[in-house]
Symmetry: C2
Subunit: 304 residues, 2 copies
């Protein structure tokens, strides 16, 4: 479950509500492509913008449509008591795993983060993936803290942010973290532009935003890398450089949601205010980039 491609679908949402039909279509694409794990309600799935009831409803839709592929969902919230409630919801709704980031308002200390994971993992009966995402949480895990948390019961994977684009530095980073965590805890890379480098450096999983929309493209990169064909994985990732450039400039969420709109998979707007869609010029550029990408994906929308 925590090896290979974990695909994080969008949750299309705007001021009128959640587009459930479009969400299910996105899940069906992931099922058809055969991803290894569906990451419903990750950052790309807008979990932070939805309330508890909405998160439960979306998770149920994901589990119901997943056809046996395991579903992981975020249980992150600012308050521990809410995290515990979300963990209960996730387990009752049939999630196979949960993802937890130390989101905060007041900056958290290492001990507060450790205690959060300690309290949550002690009440879980399904595996947990530690979500290290300083871009949204502004919490910076030390490798030593990762090592302590990885020893807690039910911890089975760590979703790390992008690695260095230099292969030697990436190798050193993954090797150092690996030595500090139990062998049964996998390391998954996120930050899609860094995925091939991260997988080639020894990450077992790719936690992917693009994979939630274009799973076949991302599965090809993942499988080449995990089969030891580093050059081929790099080559395919390099082909996506125009897209990675947009990710770096506008953030993956805005780019992937615009790509889904352009592809006709979801209607616009698909982000909750105050988030605004990609600007028009970036969108035109994205349209051009997508022509190549779409031709390599088997579309499986129920709409045609």
């Amino acid at each position: 479950m925590f090896c290979g491609l974990s695909a994080f679908p969008l949750t299309p949402v705007n001021e009128t509500g959640i587009n459930e039909k479009a969400f299910v279509t996105l899940i069906q694409r992931l099922v058809a492509a055969g991803v290894d794990l569906i990451g419903a309600l990750g950052s790309t799935g807008n979990y932070a913008y939805l309330n508890r009831e909405e998160r439960l409803r979306v998770l149920r839709l994901a589990v119901h449509s997943s056809e046996g592929i395991p579903v992981m969902t975020s249980i992150s919230a600012i308050r521990t008591s809410e995290v515990l409630r979300l963990a209960e919801d996730a387990q009752r709704a049939g999630a196979s795993a949960v993802l937890l980031a130390p989101v905060s308002y007041q900056a958290l200390t290492n001990e507060e983060v450790y205690s959060l994971y300690e309290q949550v993992t002690s009440s879980l009966s399904i595996p947990l993936c530690v979500y290290d995402n300083p871009g949204t949480t502004h919490f910076h895990f030390s490798d030593e803290l990762h090592g302590r948390i990885a020893e807690l019961p039910n911890v089975r994977s760590i979703k790390i942010p992008g690695v260095s684009s230099d292969p030697e530095e990436a190798n050193a980073r993954i090797s150092k973290l690996r030595k500090l965590i139990p062998s049964y805890v996998t390391i998954g890379v996120s930050g899609d532009p860094f995925a091939a480098t991260g997988l080639n450096a020894g990450c077992e999983a790719w936690y992917s935003a693009l994979g939630g929309l274009f799973p076949e493209t991302c599965l090809r990169i993942t499988r080449f890398a995990l089969d030891g064909c580093a050059d081929e994985a790099n080559r395919l990732s390099t082909q996506l450089e125009p897209l990675w450039s947009l990710f770096r400039q506008y953030g993956s969420l805005r780019v992937v949601s615009a790509a889904a709109e352009i592809s006709g998979l979801i209607s616009s707007p698909s982000l909750p205010l105050p988030l605004q869609p990609l600007n028009q010029s970036a969108r035109e550029h994205l349209k051009f980039i997508l022509k190549d990408l779409q031709s390599t994906e088997t579309f499986c929308s129920p709409f045609g």
Copy 2:
């Protein structure tokens, strides 16, 4: 209302709920001291850890106990639709003003932040204070963006983070911002250790965490500074340096909540998990510091 001392009381909260009786006691202290504005449910008031119903309940308690002193409350939330609902609640509950920070999960662009304030201010019938708090929001306002937002209807103050401790740099910073905003919009300094410098540099208000607990001490500094007695304001602030040092090390919330516990005004624990109380050695140090401070405050707890 947006001049002088705005005092931000704690909202004592732990896993068993909100301590409403202790909260009212804190409000009564502010009323007795005669602060210029009560900032209920600011960052010090743990707004980010409370749900909409809890925020409404606490705001009502504050308004009910304020004896005519205006009450401002935070309406900050990650999603615009929730901000609008909180603004409605605030107005119905009798708040005199609202405080809005651009809190976010995905990093916001300048245009997204401007549009948030544009949408919210257009629906308000009470004044708004812009809450610039990069320590918790991680959004960095440019002075130019402040200038644009300050022109929006109902904007009447900007709560800025700490200024430079160098008086000349602080003067330059405030003068620059002042030129970009309408004359009826005040500038208030926060970051208590910088308050005297900020007031001496021309800020009209001090948005104060310490003022929520020790209003008399903070009123003295504020009045000296606003009366042109800069040296006296600096002298009183410098006397508090041991406290400011703890603020810098542990964050003002943890220190002020421990101070309120030590003073017998609230019971422990008074912070919501995952936030943990001040560690024991810092607490012992704080006890020592507080002996001086408490002797200068007229306690007005209903408990004696």
